[in-house]
Amino acid sequence: MDLFRKFEIDPRLVGMLAALAVIWTGFHLMSGGSFLTPRNLWNLSVQTSAIAVMACGMVLVIVTRNIDLSVGSVLGVVGMLVGVIQARWLPEAMGLEHPLTWLISALAAMALGGLIGLFHGALIAYLVIPSFIVTLGGLLVWRGAAWWVTTGQTVAPMDGRFRSLGGSVEGAIGAGASWALGVAAIAAIVAAMMMARRRKQSFGFAVRPPAVEVAVIGVIVAAVIGVVMLFNAYPLPAPIARRVAEAQGTPWPEGGLFISHGFAVPMIIALVTGIVMSFVARRTTFGRYVFAIGGNPEAAQLSGVNTRRVLMHVYGVMGVLTGLAACITTARLNAATNSAGSLDELYVIAAAVIGGTSLSGGVGTIVGAMLGALIMQSLQSGMVLLGVDTPLQNIVVGIVLVVAVWLDTIYRKRLK
């Protein structure tokens, strides 16, 4: 414990990584070696993305002692609108497969989600209606609205470039780009750590011993390289690889070609979201106010924080991220359906809570919530791999949620 504190390593994070390692190894052994494969982990990264993106926003919501039950339904209605925008309106205005269709659609999704979120936030912050009720109402209203957009019809197919937001073959960036991204990530992480270290030293504060700093950097670099190699080890299926090769003018050899998937676009979106939201939570006044409100709303207000505006903006951020998740989900399905996102609110809340976000407010981390999302999704896809029936899957996930929170409660008590 003291060692963790001294070296500024979060013990809860280490615990979650250990839990993840146990789950992954367990499934790998039980499935006869088919869990820890590039293919399965690539799919896992894609499946986790939408929930992970929304979990980042849910952390802030729960930290302020509130809840958002409406994210699944908001995802549904925004997904429908985004489907209609790109499959019906934009093709009429700009022609099919216009290069900007995907961007306009994605921006529209985030704007719509943000507006819905701000509206919820205004009701909660200024009319002082409990967030549970506002978003429970939202859960019903927006699911109904999702149906009304097309009176229940599914909208398909999506724009080709937009589809890459959801992963699949179009959304795999390939080996070269993955390496470039990995190197850029390493450079950014090392630069950020060095800057933080220098800043602390300039005020004469204690920093980690150089050896520990080097070790931490080493672990991070190794992890990034490992992840790049892992996703690059997953080849495109032969027919698609052949199409890609022919499009590039490469002749198709007898034994086939190994063309890597590389990172999936939705995973990159989720990681970038996580980094941006961590920055917002830890390095901006907005994030500081969110946590202060969670710790003591009255104190925050008496300190001159405009608590209502902050709370409204928290729901605005939640809405923008839900819009982003709606893009990922719609693109991945290659269709907008009015049932998209059903029950997502529960998975998102569970991810945040498993990730150490306290429902009594004031405590939570973005990275924890993203790991929580990964743990949830690992459990589910692992059980699918083992052929566990859906009802039993739900039972297991439910039990894990309760046990995880119980363990966290014990951990917190021992901390005091």
């Binding site: 005020f203 001159g304 924080v305």
Partner: protein
Amino acid sequence: MNASGTPLVEMRGISIAFGGIKAVENVSVDLFPGEVVGLLGHNGAGKSTLIKILSGAYPADAGEIAINGQAVAIRTPRDAKDNGIETIYQTLALADNIDAAANIYLGREKLTPWGTLDDAAMESETRKAMARLNPHFRRFKEPVSALSGGQRQSVAIARAIHFNARVLIMDEPTAALGPAETAQVGELIKQLKADGIGIFLVSHDLHDVFDLADRIVVMKNGRVVGTAAVKDVTQDDVLGMIIGGKCPPGATPGPGAVQGPGAAAGAAMPGGPAN
């Protein structure tokens, strides 16, 4: 103490009602630089409500506030702080989940040139401020929930005096403290007084007030019973003011004073919200 010239704070005809209950009614008080004014009264007498109006927590329904003779509008805690009015609340009003520096700078964070939080600079300043108030304090990295009562009090005091306050409001500053820490707060008040800061001291502890205050203002049922220099009245006189609303000869009666010997003492109005 300088009881002549322009008052540092002048509150005139302040009233506020909550759901028809007049918690503070036509109250006028003033405070001079380097003066400590003790605000006394029962629970529900309106003293905490009055100071919450000055600290911006409640906007007054009626009345005027002047700082150094200049009329100011105080509608929010931000307005009060902008006018150099700082408050140490009875509850301390600390966000338990963040550290001392984050609490001290809450709402007026130090930022880096990029507009991000400058935690290192805030911690550095906090270390200097706390070194004066509580030299043994070391737990800068921990959330304030991990601190002792006295340490939390030091953080709340540091927050109030760190930004060059001209007016300090202390609501029951010693209620949660042991004898040694209470003495420490007393020393601090004397030191701040010498720096020319005006202090409103809200307390129900008569001994504290008689030790530290220059003047007292007694409130009952939302109105001022009377005002007196501490040297002109006895503790029994003040008790009579608090309990019976009777103004002794040494004090200047206010609108809330009971008129004549036969008047029904304290039978009239219910109290305001709990203090």
